[in-house]
Assembly symmetry: C2
């Protein structure tokens, strides 16, 4: 159970102190790790709803296609994330899941959640809160997609990624690795790969960021945050109402 520290535990510990009992419960979710190579289709929309996943390693994304081939990436998943929460309400999966690099996932059945929900009210409250927080994040993204220019979208995108990575990795600086290619970023932001290239170049020329291979450095994070009116929804949640731990 101990050995390597779990990203899921790190992720959740950011918000509340976990009891040993909580850690044991979470460990049941990470019992059966499985590797997938890069660019692998892990499940498809319409599949009869089966497992959720804890991400142990690597980046993935959830996406949907339109009948004519247009694609929208709706969520990017990092180590420590739980994949598939929204689908709990539906009878079928609503999105496709694909790895961008070699990944390690721990599939677990819906029913494992029930155990958590009945035996740890505090952990339940946290998981509910995370689901609701994600909804706020989607709402922020909607604002980005509905009303912001390409420049602003890309800026918001990198700020959001950095904010998320900082939750599971406390000593993250202003530099991070971005393993997505520009077509994938385009499919996430509702733009084209060509325009993503042009926009990154412009951000670089303006001195807002620098690039070295997959490494991105935000050299003027505060300015970027102001530019896109960025709110960090990850750093802090309201846990005051949680049942006592």
């Amino acid at each position: 159970m101990s050995g390597q520290p779990s990203c899921l535990v790190q992720n959740l510990s950011h918000y509340i102190d976990l009891t040993d009992h909580d850690r044991e419960l979470l460990a049941t979710l990470e019992r059966s790790p499985r590797d997938y190579s890069e660019a692998t289709e892990i499940h498809s929309g319409g599949d009869r709803n089966r497992d959720l996943y804890v991400v142990k390693q690597g980046w993935l994304f959830s996406y949907t296609d339109l009948p004519d081939g247009r694609r929208q990436i709706v969520k990017i998943h990092h180590p420590g994330d739980v994949i598939g929460f929204p689908d709990i309400a539906m009878k079928h999966m609503t999105t496709n899941l694909r790895s961008v690099e070699p990944v390690t996932l721990c599939p677990f059945p819906k029913s494992a959640l029930e155990t958590i929900f009945t035996s740890s009210p505090r952990l339940s409250a946290l998981m509910l809160s995370i689901a609701l927080r994600d909804q706020v994040v989607f709402i922020d993204l909607l604002r980005v997609m509905g009303r912001m220019s390409a420049m602003e979208r890309v800026s918001h995108f990198v700020l959001d990624l950095l904010a998320r990575l900082r939750i599971t990795n406390k000593d993250m600086t202003d530099t991070f690795r971005l393993p997505l290619n520009q077509s994938q970023i385009a499919d996430y932001l509702g733009l084209t790969n060509v325009y993503i290239s042009k926009t990154f170049k412009r951000l670089q020329d303006d001195g807002m960021l620098s690039r070295d291979g997959q490494q991105i450095t935000l050299t003027r994070e505060e300015e970027l945050k102001e530019l896109v009116d960025f709110e960090d929804r990850y750093i802090e949640m309201d846990t005051s109402w949680f049942p006592g731990g």
Copy 2:
């Protein structure tokens, strides 16, 4: 408690059979109705997080502004809806709330939810499911905003409204009242009021819908659904895993 039937109860009854105990619990949420006139600002983003609301009557919307005045409407609320769920996770309200016509709301404190969560597992599961379902709806909307044309956006918009209205009103046909003006629709779909006008006209010329004042009739609903690859997320949820009632 009986008297006029509650829209909230109607809304939830669509998914599960409510016990008398459940109905009593829900009635506590609707204890203190309050009227607001049209175009009223009911709360603002950044407010210290206080009440949620049950909508008894009238349409409202939640929105956010960008610093330079651009606006994004993120959710349209109808009778029977609960407003404010996602904010439970945050310390402050994340959106503004405004009525589009005279409305009746029932404010209730977060703590009222706790009572429900501790005393009716079945009702808790339903409310969680609705929150997660809404997340799926946001994801669908993201796809619309990221990858669809104005034509497709407007089509999806009216289909979505109709699907939602049918939950609380079983004998809704293919006609409904749309009290939003075109600027508001534009702020919802990330377009301009002028282009909304042009697009509605085109849909009308193509025979997809007809308008009479605020009344909208979808004359070729199936074609529209195909056009935008529409999925009704409201009609059916997976309640199979709910604790027995």
